[in-house]
């Protein structure tokens, strides 16, 4: 599974899956910490909808970690103060880069988590729809 999709699943999930998947790699391989979790900024570039031009809205605090497994460096980046999750994401990223066999078996778990994430978001959105306005035109 490609990085964009899997990082979206792992970050939107509550962190349990990242913890579980990274643990299987820590137990079986040497994971060398290249960059311990550190805080930094990401400048956010946005497109405004009036003239469709680009501008910077501001920065967001991130936690970043880097881990090396089998000569492959993995990066974990996540919004907020998330030391553990950043490191777990870096391990998972390195595992995919090194094409470790475990990653093949992760696909089903990731897809299941993706379905759950979508279900939870769709439920949350449906709940918000209780605040949807139903206009009635009055006779005057």
């Amino acid at each position: 599974m490609k990085r964009r999709r899997r990082t979206e699943i792992l970050i939107q999930e509550n962190g349990q899956l990242a913890k579980k998947l990274s643990a299987t790699i820590i137990d079986a391989y040497e994971c060398k910490e290249i960059l311990e979790p550190q805080y930094g900024l990401t400048m956010i570039k946005m497109r405004e909808s009036a003239k469709k031009s680009l501008f910077y809205i501001g920065e967001v605090l991130i936690t970043e970690a880097k881990v090396e497994i089998s000569n492959c460096i993995g990066i974990g980046i996540v919004v907020g103060v998330e030391d553990e999750l950043a490191k777990q994401l870096a391990i998972i990223d390195a595992a995919y880069k090194a094409e470790l066999p475990e990653t093949i078996t992760w696909r089903d778990q990731l897809i299941e988590a993706e379905k759950q994430n979508t279900k939870e978001r769709a439920k949350k959105q449906a709940e918000l729809f209780k605040t949807k306005v139903s206009f009635e035109t009055m006779e005057v």
Binding site: T42, A50, G58, V81
Partner: protein
Amino acid sequence: MGYVPVKGGTEAIDASIKRLKYERLKGNETIEIQTIMSTMRGMIDQVMSESSLYSPFLAALAIKQAEGSMEEAVFLMRAHRSTLPRPYYSKTVEPETMLVERRISASFKDIPGGQLLGATYDYTHRLLDFDLINESSESIQRWLQNYQTELQQVDAFDEVKYFPKVVDYLRDEGLFENHQEDNTVPKDITKQSLQFPSTRSERLQVMTRGQTGAVTSLGYASLRGYGQVHPTVGEVRVGAVPIYVGHPNEMEQNTEDEFYIGEITVTEVESFVPTQVKNANNEYELQFEIGYGICYGQNETKAIAMSILDQCLEHPESNFPTHDEEFVLLHIDSVESTGFISHLKLPHYVTFQSKLDSVRQVKKEVQEVEN
């Protein structure tokens, strides 16, 4: 009289800082960062927006340290931000990717997808709720349980819905100009100081991090007559937008290989502003333009005011002060304005003595002439 340089006050300053800590602690109470994050949503959003640093955790810490002073909290956040590395720039965040929590239009009753009130103070009675004085953990738990039970009855959608922009329908009808995507690399005012005339990207960046009160006041001034923009709010949205970054080292940059790093909540506004333009026959006709406003968190008043000022600054030909980019952009930053005003209370002994000397000299000369 010569000028006398002085030093001292170190002990007094130490004692003053200790006294400041005492003022924060003397009630023998503390507030947890988590409590601030859970209960001071509006304040956190405002601090993040004005400091231009999205981090509810750091904003809560700043609020605690500053004892709730907005200007101090924003100053702390800006100072902290300057100590951090900035290893990444995000990929372009497209407004349509917002997971909407609130969406209203003042221009149309029936907007595709409907009007979603979400969480808002707009329809509350502004009466103090004295029941909150004795609010207990048990009563909170009870209320939450009842609300959760109520929500359990709601059937989930099959998939997450993304709302189209109201303005896009009007563009499709030809009522608004349909701009092509402009991918000019934006300027960054944190890297390069503002020069005039400014670019649109610089103006938007300054305004989105402007002090809420200042942005609101200038927007209001424009409406009251010190400007020429009288908009109707086309759409106000509050929701979360996803953030993606590219890999720092990989040569081949593929969308599928980007990192999703999380999401941020923003308020986004499009205001519709009627303007008169000359057509091909050199006749004036009515047209609509869009004022754009956006800020971190849920801060609708600021975003609406920004959309007014955006439109004002797109028309510098007007003589009103709210159309003057230097007047607007150089006076709305929290750290700059509060910093300059508050520096006035710092020692100005030398400059003031100089002024006194001048006055004494003039008075002495006048007295000599009179004698």
